[in-house]
């Protein structure tokens, strides 16, 4: 995804968050999934599996939380981490994506319990799309 996907860590007293930027909503959601891997301190190895993922929610902000929680569950239940994401369809209330999973080259340093609604932001800005989310660790 190269320069299309930029993220940085956000501090929280007990937990941690991410600010994510990308040119389109679909790219933003893909970038957010990758940022979750970075947040856990993991690095993917060689992709070994692809999963089709569909998520629906009541609004775009909820969709971001539900999407990231779906990714989190996928990683925890398979022991893999996200290597790449191809978003095939995106609306404010639904996303379809192909998620490439890989065994971790560097394993997560800590568990992420959940992605939360705390100070959740999803916005279109002049230079592209921005999301901010926090996780409970």
């Amino acid at each position: 995804m190269g320069t299309e996907c930029v993220y940085e860590e956000l501090a929280h007293t007990a937990d941690v968050g991410m600010r994510v930027r990308a040119p389109t909503p679909a790219a933003l959601f893909a970038c957010a999934a990758r940022s979750l891997v970075a947040l856990a301190g993991a690095t993917p190895g060689e992709p070994s599996e692809r999963r089709q993922v569909y998520v629906e929610a009541v609004d775009a902000e909820s969709l971001l939380v539900e999407w990231l929680n779906e990714v989190l569950y996928l990683c925890e239940s398979t022991g893999a981490v996200v290597a790449d994401v191809l978003v095939t369809a995106w609306t404010p209330t639904g996303i379809a994506a192909e998620v490439s999973l890989a065994p971790p080259a560097i394993p997560p340093r800590g568990a992420i319990k959940a992605v939360t609604y705390h100070r959740l932001r999803l916005a279109e800005e002049p230079e592209g799309w921005l999301a901010e989310y926090y996780v409970d660790v």
């Binding site: 929280h12 007293t13 929610a57 909820s62 925890e76 239940s77 959940a114 409970d136």
Partner: protein, 483 residues
């Protein structure tokens, strides 16, 4: 932003944000804190979250912040709120993602002097026996039928599998089993996350510590709890693992629509809730009780693994290896309780998120041998400092819905902690202090550096002075196993 000017002092170490501070507040917000701890609380969104909680339908008396309060999600960590039955609400976010995260204390027959030569071996043995960190499952793989039993029975399941004693159950909050747990309310993915996690510590701030009782403050209560100076004790801090996280995630998602259905408007989406009389609330409570039971069984299984480790290291050397359970407390729970509010007995749902039940002497919920003294309250500090055993008080029953603090409380973000110290550097520092450390992740260790936390001494001093609990004994770490 809330400032000190918005607070009025009610008594020493007690502050109030009056109901008029914000138009949507239904009750005041009260904070137990010294000046220093209050300054820390004002640095993040803690008090704003406490005010937000004071807007929830059915909230009674006041929302409360314990001195270890810090910013959480929706509801602050170190927060307490009681909602009237039947029309008040229950909020999964006000209980937390790690449902029934809690602490267990085991008291050894051994003294620290006897154990000292073998602590390094004990650290390795405990680290092998008690899986911690991410991706490390336990030795027990639960099939569907087993999992249903664990979710319904909690620590009682462990009794049937030789992982517990009757004494353990009698000395666990709720006897180690929340009644009314219904596994049918737990989603398939929550079940998936649980299958290999029984008997695992997890990561983050969860740990297993071998401590020494360094000071007994209240000899009569310490004797009743079976504690003496110089004694080795074991603290286990963990919760319901992926199962609890997923249950909270599932219901926070579902309740986004529930609040619309019931016309509840909220200042923060993470506070989503349902009226206690509604079927949606019943579903969450039955699932939440399953998570609580999983957590009780998890800490019980870990206790069994710790006992095996002590036997392995000490019994073969002819040293006493027994570990008697002192108590096990929950500090992330919603409980249906009766309290006196404005002179009337009321049924309420007490939300404690990063707060410990602290029932006073005479309470029927306390085991008979502790009843004259009050419920044991276990307050872990940050590794490298101290932990405390406290006792619940009658005053806590009168003013804090029988609640007190739960730990030191974070002060510094994980990002900031990592910037200040490397994990390996911290491990060496702790080793120089005589603390044996085993950690799955050095970065994870750095995030939990003692300087990232408030002073646990100051936190317990406040609750002791305020009468929310009485200090019984101070513990200092000799050995820490972290994820």
């Amino acid at each position: 932003m809330i400032t000190k000017h918005d607070l009025r002092p009610l008594a020493a170490d007690l502050w109030e944000i009056p109901v008029g501070f914000r138009r949507d507040m239904r009750v005041p917000a009260r904070i137990y804190a010294s000046e220093e701890l209050l300054d820390h609380a004002l640095e993040d969104l803690s008090l704003q979250q406490l005010v937000n909680a004071a807007t929830l339908p059915g909230v009674v008396a006041y929302t409360l912040a314990m001195p270890d309060i810090h910013q959480g999600y929706g509801f602050p960590v170190g927060g307490v709120a009681a909602m009237a039955l039947p029309d008040g609400v229950i909020s999964p976010g006000a209980i937390g993602y790690d449902i029934n995260c809690g602490v267990r204390l085991l008291a050894a027959e051994l003294d620290a002097e006897q154990a000292a030569p073998y602590l390094d071996e004990l650290a390795d043995t405990l680290d092998r026996a008690c899986p911690s960190g991410t991706g490390r499952g336990g030795r027990i793989r639960l099939n569907d039928a087993d999992l249903d039993e664990v979710l319904a029975e909690g620590a009682r399941w462990c009794l049937r599998h030789d992982l517990a004693t009757e004494h353990d159950l009698a000395h666990t909050e709720e006897g180690g089993c929340m009644a009314g747990a219904n596994p049918a309310r737990v989603s398939p993915r929550a079940r998936d996350r649980a299958r290999d996690q029984l008997g695992t510590l997890g990561a983050g701030n969860h740990f297993l510590e071998v401590d020494q009782v360094v000071q007994v403050h209240d000899p009569a209560i310490a004797a009743a709890y079976g504690l003496r100076e110089g004694q080795i004790v074991v603290l286990i801090h963990c919760g319901s693992r992926g199962l609890g996280h997923q249950i909270c995630t599932d219901y926070v998602r579902d309740f986004q629509q529930v609040v619309q259905r019931y016309g509840i408007s909220l200042p923060d989406r993470e506070l989503v809730c349902a009226p206690l009389s509604a079927p949606e609330a019943r579903a969450y409570i039955e699932a939440m009780h399953c998570a609580a039971n999983f957590a009780f069984a998890n800490r019980q299984t870990l206790a069994a693994l710790v006992r095996q480790s002590f036997t392995h290291v000490f019994a073969r050397r002819g040293l006493p290896a027994g570990l008697r359970q002192v108590y096990d407390v929950a500090h992330n729970m919603g409980k249906m309780e009766e309290h006196r509010i404005d002179g009337k007995r009321m049924q309420v749902c007490v939300h404690r998120k990063g707060a410990t039940r602290a029932f006073g002497p005479g309470s029927p919920e306390i085991p008979a041998d502790y009843r004259p003294y009050g419920q044991p309250v276990l307050v872990p500090g940050s590794m490298g400092t101290a932990s405390y055993v406290l006792a619940g008080t009658e005053h806590a029953m009168a003013v804090s819905f029988g609640s007190t603090c739960h730990g030191a409380g974070r002060m510094l973000s994980r990002t900031a902690a990592k910037r200040q110290i490397h994990g390996e550097q911290l491990r060496k520092q702790l080793t120089r202090q005589g603390i044996h450390v085993r950690a799955g992740s050095m970065a994870g260790l750095a995030e939990e550096a003692p300087f990232a936390y408030k002073s646990v001494d100051e936190v317990v001093a406040v609750v002791d002075r305020a009468g929310l609990a009485r200090i019984v004994a101070r513990l200092e770490p000799l050995l820490v196993v972290k994820g």
